[in-house]
Amino acid sequence: METINLYTAIYMSEIYFVIFCIFIGIEVISNVPAILHTPLMSGANAISGIILVGAVIMIMKVDADDYLNLILGGIAVFLGTLNIAGGFFVTGRMLKMFNTKK
């Protein structure tokens, strides 16, 4: 029970945070019309590239002579950046094509 109480104390605000995020996410995204579903998906995809923040923190924590983890970290940063750059660029390119004469 004590451990459970401990974890509750540590994580409770995070759990509130997560639940509110879920509701905001659902609320915001439900209003996206079907014509923009592809850009929505690739835009959301780019946002999941925020994992790069974790990769940057991680690679700076690794010892400078720990080559295995440096390589893994380098790949992680590369993948994360690719996710962000590719995602936002391709979403922008798609959105530029949506035009109306009105």
Partner: protein, 466 residues
């Protein structure tokens, strides 16, 4: 400094919400994308500065070099890829970018396991890390396989062994970490994480393998959602709120799209994942012989030129034939003659949510002309001619009036209610669901056989003459 960074993270999280919110209108969506991108850059730059400032010992030059090289390489490659991809291959591109996010989450988990002392780190953090790592690995290999399948390099595999092995692996992905963190530790944390990563990677492959082509919109949305969840768990483990917020938002977006897609096909998520269809009742009314009327290019052009209101119903066949530009050209010619042309788009047309809309936008079609299914159905009887281009199951009336049909209950575009329907098809083969299309035998329906692009070109040529 701590405050600056935290406030920056908060701004980034808000920018993500705004970015997604602005997606609700095509006019503001561009601004939204830019806002989210700026928030992202802010978050990454602040993290970078924080890593430099809080580094209590001397700055690790090697790490810094690796970091900067990787970021530059990622940006350059990402820009290149996004500039070169044709719009027809957007589902593949999105899958690849999704794989990169998942791969990043997986590697984070592995590195953390390598450098963490299990005795010092709490079980809570470690289990969060494990979940993030495993979901990341599933999203990674699953997305790569999805890309391979979308490009037609890998075929579906629905054998019992595949499905059973997948289930077994999924169970072990749950059971093994529970055992490990409750004290049963035959191997050290690093080895355990590598084993788990391997299982998750294989599971990702087996999980996408049975899923058929037209179900791809569901699986792409789901994989997108899984990457978001992986990001959120990694954020939990590191204690970084902007990662949690970003991850959860993406997870919610993917989940909503997944639900929308399964609804638009009237199928349960479980059936999609197992690659299953409701068995059609053998010898049912669906197998009756049909009388097919075919129609020539000249007749089609004539019908179009006399029509006041025309609708185009595009499907995946339009993307395969790369016929979006010539289709838009036909629309422009008709509009010049005063004919009204609309596009009616089924939610699951194509290989990802919204696929058809992007293709038509690429061909310069005004987005006011793009109608959703319900909108089109309401005014269907007003259309003089409906052209069905490369779509099949989504216009099959059996979904509404034949309870024995495997697709019964799926919402369809009711083209059969229009005055005249012209279906462009390469052959009489059935659609994805493998059922005969009752529309083709109907009084008001005729079929124009041939490749969509070639036929549309000929129609355009004829229209210019009339």
């Amino acid at each position: 400094m701590y405050t600056v960074i935290q406030v920056g993270y908060l701004l980034a999280a808000v920018s993500f919400i705004l970015g997604l919110k602005f997606m609700s209108s095509p006019v503001r969506a561009k601004t939204g994308n830019t806002i989210a991108a700026i928030g992202m850059i802010l978050a990454v730059v602040l993290t970078f500065i924080a890593a430099l400032v809080f580094e209590n010992s001397s700055i690790k030059i090697t790490n810094l070099v690796v970091l900067i090289v990787a970021i530059i390489a990622g940006t350059v490659v990402g820009k290149r890829m996004s500039d070169q991809v044709p719009m027809t291959e957007m589902p593949q591109m999105v899958s690849i970018f999704n794989a990169t996010g998942g791969g990043c989450a997986m590697l984070l988990g592995l590195i953390e396991a390598n450098i963490t002392n299990i005795a010092l780190a709490g079980v809570g953090t470690l289990s969060l890390l494990t979940v993030g790592m495993a979901t990341g690995a599933i999203a990674f290999s699953g997305s790569i396989l999805a890309e391979r399948k979308l490009s037609g390099k890998v075929k579906d595999n629905r054998e019992k062994v595949t499905v059973l092995t997948a289930r077994l692996l999924l169970i072990s992905l749950v059971v093994l970490p529970v055992l490990y963190f409750s004290g049963f530790q035959p191997v050290n944390l690093t080895v355990f994480m590598y084993i788990l990563a391997a299982i998750a990677l294989v599971y990702g492959v087996l999980f996408v393998l049975p899923i058929g082509g037209a179900d791809m919109p569901v699986v792409i949305s789901l994989l997108n959602s899984i990457t978001g969840v992986a990001t959120a768990f990694a954020g939990f483990a590191i204690g970084n709120k902007v990662m949690i917020a970003g991850g959860i938002l993406v997870g919610a977006a993917g989940l909503i799209l997944t639900v929308l897609m399964t609804k638009a096909m009237n199928r349960s998520l479980l059936n999609v994942l197992a690659g299953k269809f409701k068995k059609s009742v053998a010898g049912g009314s669906a197998e009756t012989a049909q009388e097919i009327k075919d129609i020539s290019v000249a007749e089609t052009a004539l019908a179009l030129s006399f029509a006041q209101k025309v609708a185009v119903v595009p499907g995946y066949g339009l993307a395969v034939a790369q016929a979006q530009h010539i289709c838009a050209q036909m629309e422009q010619i008709l509009e010049k003659r005063g004919t009204e042309v609309d596009y009616i788009i089924h939610p699951v047309a194509g290989r990802m949510p919204g696929h058809m809309n992007v293709l038509l936008a690429e061909a310069n079609v005004d987005y006011d002309r793009l109608k959703e299914m319900e909108e089109g159905n309401e005014i269907m009887s007003q259309y003089d001619v409906v052209m069905v281009i490369g779509a099949n199951d989504v216009v099959n009336p059996a979904a509404e009036n034949n309870p024995d049909s495997p697709i019964f209950g799926m919402p369809i575009i009711r083209t059969h209610e229009a005055k005249q329907v012209i279906v462009m098809k390469r052959s009489m083969s059935t659609g994805y669901a493998g059922v005969q299309n009752d529309l083709f035998g109907m009084e008001n329906c005729s079929i124009l056989f041939g490749d969509a692009k070639v036929m549309l070109q000929e129609i355009v040529n004829q229209l210019k003459l009339i």
